[in-house]
């Protein structure tokens, strides 16, 4: 896992607050890219600290858009649950070798199910809390799925970009 995630963490939160919070296209497209930052945080860190970081991140987002505590609730759930979710989605062999695998080195399938599943859960919980009606649970699921796909696309691009940066550094060092 990335050992210094703070730059990316702060960048994604600022991106969320300044750009993506203003995206409300058709009432459906409202991606929460800051969730990437929470997924990116190393699992090996102290779990209590991770949960407090998750809560503080969500609280900050909530404060920026006056949404009470719904982002804080969804973020805490994401950080809490990713410890369990990784066991279902990532190969046990890989976890045995490295219990805190680098997301950039994961198999595509594992990455998609791990990060995609967490993003879907986070977005669905968030939109369900936002609407707070049983009758809109279906549309919350749909909205969660669509926005999780968008954020997953961005996540995938980010991983490809960091890959290309890494290989460029290696080739520069060689020459």
């Amino acid at each position: 896992m990335n050992r210094r995630p703070w730059v990316l963490f702060l960048f994604l939160i600022l991106l969320q607050v300044s750009v993506f919070n203003r995206v409300q296209w058709l009432g459906i497209f409202n991606p929460m890219v800051y969730a990437i930052a929470l997924i990116w945080l190393p699992i090996s860190w102290n779990r209590t600290l991770l949960m407090l970081i998750g809560f503080a991140t969500g609280w900050w987002i909530d404060g920026s858009i006056q949404s009470g505590g719904i982002h804080a609730m969804a973020s805490v759930w994401l950080v809490y649950y990713k410890q369990f979710w990784i066991k279902f989605t990532v190969s046990p062999v890989l976890l045995q070798d490295n219990p805190d695998p680098d997301l950039r080195e994961m198999e595509t399938r594992s990455l998609m199910s791990y990060a995609g599943g967490l993003l879907f859960m986070h977005h669905t919980i968030l939109y369900a809390l936002e609407a707070l009606r049983w009758s809109t649970l279906g549309s919350s699921l749909l909205k969660g799925g669509i926005n999780a796909l968008i954020v997953m696309g961005l996540f995938w691009s980010l991983i490809q970009w960091t890959h290309s940066l890494g290989s460029k550094k290696m080739s520069d060092a060689r020459y």
Binding site: R47, T48, M51, L52, F55, G58, W59, D62, Q66, S67, G68, G69, I70, A72, M73, V76, W77, Y80, L129, L132, R133
Partner: protein, 293 residues
């Protein structure tokens, strides 16, 4: 003790999750108007559904008394209709039976309750009481009508010409009413004989009695005098019955009486009520600071 500590240590992350989620929920429900309102609606809807089931069972027990009361009400409405000959154009073609069967017409109800006074209603609907709390300081009632029937907060709830309370919040199918027997409720009361206005409040004791506050000692008042709603209230039209003076105490040195009032509404026997809104209430309230109840 050691076992408990181990157990707590084992589930510390789950405990932290619950704690943080609860804090997030508190921030949401206390800070965001929409979520606060949704929570209130959920509470009313849940309580309403539960109380409606209980009411279906218990209403059979009081069916005889209720039928008797309805018959009396129909008879009195018929008598009032027959006396109102000057309103004949609209009323002669509508018998009181039709009024009761088809729901309430605001114009007809206002002409029955306030003949020739010019007071008009822009909304009137019948409802049934499915729950009426009496054992607490802040009692409330639930009615089986809600926003889908046109009920809105701050509408008045009456039984014939007696004040019951006012609508505080509504869900789709139910309405929560703050009755006179709620310690936070203050109602403007008029003493018609002296044309003096005072405040009627419930002290949290017997649901049959309330207190009339701030009635000046130099104004004559007698036991048995009636009290009605005053024109100061934007929720209740003036002239609705509140109660009768039951006991008057003079406190040495005080400039006001201590007056006990026997309430006209008997909250033990409430079933059918009417929900009304005076014409221009909304416009009037825009100009006045709105009290919570």
């Amino acid at each position: 003790m050691g076992g408990l500590a181990l157990w707590l240590f084992k589930y510390r992350f789950l405990g932290l999750l619950i704690l943080l989620e609860a804090f997030g929920a508190w921030m949401t429900f206390s800070g965001v108007q929409y979520h606060h309102s949704r929570l209130t609606q959920f509470q009313i809807e849940t309580a309403g559904n539960y109380q409606k089931r209980i009411h279906r069972i218990t209403r059979f027990m009081g069916l005889d008394e209720e039928n008797q009361r309805l018959n009396q009400e129909i008879t009195s409405l018929k008598q009032q209709l027959s006396f109102n000959n000057n309103k004949a154009d609209s009323l002669s073609t509508t018998s009181s039976d039709v009024v009761l069967q088809q729901g309430l017409n605001p114009q007809i109800l206002s002409s029955l309750l306030w003949p020739d006074s010019g007071i008009l209603l822009d909304f009137a609907a019948p409802a049934r009481v499915i729950y009426c709390g009496q054992g607490n300081q802040q009692n409330y009632m639930l009615l089986d009508r809600g926003s889908m029937h046109g009920i809105r907060p701050r509408m008045a709830v009456i039984q014939e010409n007696k004040i019951v309370g006012q609508v505080q919040a509504v869900s789709e199918n139910f309405a929560r009413v703050v009755p006179l027997i709620n310690t936070k409720m203050r109602t403007s009361a008029l003493h018609p004989k002296s044309q003096t206005v005072a405040s009627l409040a419930w002290d949290g004791g017997s649901p049959r009695y309330a207190e009339l506050l701030d009635f000046p000692i130099h104004i004559p008042i007698k036991i048995g005098d009636s009290l009605v709603s005053s024109s100061y209230s934007a929720v209740y039209p003036p002239g609705l019955r509140l109660g009768r003076v039951d006991r008057i105490e003079v406190i040495p040195g005080a400039v006001t009486y201590k007056i006990r009032v026997l309430l006209t509404t008997d909250y033990n026997q409430l079933d059918h009520v009417q929900i009304i809104r005076p014409t221009l209430q909304v416009e009037r309230e825009k100009l006045l600071p709105v009290d919570k109840f």
